[in-house]
Amino acid sequence: MSDTSRDRLMLVVALAMAAIYLFPLYWMYVTALKSGSDMFASPPSFWPTSPSWGTFAYVWESRNMGRYLWNSIVIATGAVTLVAVLGTGCAYVLARYRSVWVDIGLFLILMLQVLPASLMITPIFVGFTQMGLLEYPRFAVVLAIAAKSMPFFVVLVRATFMAVPVELEEAAQVDGNSRIGAFVNIVLPLARNGILVSAILIFMQAFGEFVYSKSIIQDVSLQPASVGLNSFMGPNTSEWNNIMAYATLYVTPILAIFVLLQRRIVSGLTSGALK
């Protein structure tokens, strides 16, 4: 087989995989635009015959989506801020010092990442209740998500810091900067991309977080969009177009952010630092 035909075959395989993977997303958009009879047509139609755009406005109004999305943003922003502020320092220290204790620390951090949210929620719930944190349910969820996302952030950002040569910091110190000054002026700008990417990934995770929010936040007016979507669905639900419209409104902004920042996520920065 020649190189070009193998390349083509690979491309076809890749496209097929992408199509399978992205089909649910496509189905969400298409269903959101379908009318009642279209939805239940058999065989199903892959393209809405008469797209009904009014569904979006109707769902936004009737489900009070503005409030849900606002809560999602508050929770995600809070969690990302907490993780970024605490995790950056932690990752830096773990990147710069090598010892048995650091290795043990990293192992424990990775262990935390392994535990699923649905397992952790019960002890967290009990603990939070006893500390009275359930009085501030959104803050409690922020804490829980931050704890859950921290290992992921630390491990990613640590790798970023390790890619920044120590000599640059030393040069900055000899140039007259303090240790902290060298960190802020030299290391942080060079690690910016890695930190940004990790923060975005965590923001997206937190934006769609469900288990903690569902369990901890009882007050409907404080619930995020993920819980709102869940309460939309019941055993006898048949308004799939409305649910899909809700999902579309929920997911599209995140998708847009991801597409816009995707180039940043890929690009590197430290080239030219050393010989």
Binding site: P165, E167, L168, E170, A171, A172, Q173, V174, D175, G176, N177, S178, R179, G181, I186, P189, L190, L269, T270, S271, G272, A273, L274, K275
Partner: protein, 358 residues
Amino acid sequence: MTNQIELSGVNKYYGAYHALKNIDLAIPKGSFVALVGPSGCGKSTLLRSLAGLETISSGDLLIAGERMNGVPPRRRDLAMVFQSYALYPHMTVEENLTYSLKIKGVKKAERKKAADDVAAVTGLKDLLSRYPRELSGGQRQRVAMSRAIIRNPKAFLFDEPLSNLDAALRVHMRKEIRTLHDRLGATSVYVTHDQVEAMTMADHVVVMRQGIVEQHGAPLDLYDRPINRFVAGFIGSPAMNFIDAQSSADGRFLLLDLQSPQVLPAPASLPPDQRVVVGIRPEHLRPAAGGEEGLEFDVAAVESTGSASYVTAATSPEIVVVLNERSAIRRGERVRFAVDTRQIHLFDATTGQRLDVP
């Protein structure tokens, strides 16, 4: 002359590892000192201790008369050129040069002027707005140098700054660094593993091994009177020939342990039957004239670079001779080489210390 840097009884431990052992060293103001030794000898640790990037475990470190033991790097007022150059990749050349001034709070216009002045000296004028990644290796090296020069520091520290350059550029930069040093009247400490760099650039060479200073002095003193076998072998290229030997019963001759016994006149009368190591530099052996005494051996190989010929003898240990002219000597010939007795070095067979010939 006052000392710009003074070390007395400096020790450095990494846990149980003793990296610097009781170092005493005085570096006069305006001098160019090279720290040289094989890798792991502690020369870089010593330099980093001067810079404040490592803290010394005991002893005293004085810079311009002030005790600097626990002082952080930023208050030592030293400039350092790193082996990797360590240019800030997110800053332009100009920002790299003026970063230290910016921290000091120098006004923007003055910073610009300082950068222009230094760039004019080091030939970076057209590159000020470029980023490090857009420069060649030689240009980056210049930026690293300029970044040090702009600060007008108490001393310059160089950590193998030329090892990433190709051979031709290295020879060129060697001269350039020395010229800059002389023009600025600076004090420089230069770490290198390359003894040729140390010999050619420095006023004063410090030879280190395993955390101790083996010998220090003017380059030619080290070449002429190495204090022990290690220094003798380290300084000079190709390396000195070492031959085990024994003094004769009357102490006037040296009986060399080559495959066939050979005799050389001793530089001075020695105790009878003493075991010694004879050191002869390759460039001090010359073809013997007429009936001159000397070492006679079969030639195993002749390599010629055009300007010099390297003759390797088929002996054990192998003896190398450098002749600074075209030579008619061919492989397989038996040749006699003479050596001036004053150019024979003698070392103790067990301790390796120089045996001083009165």
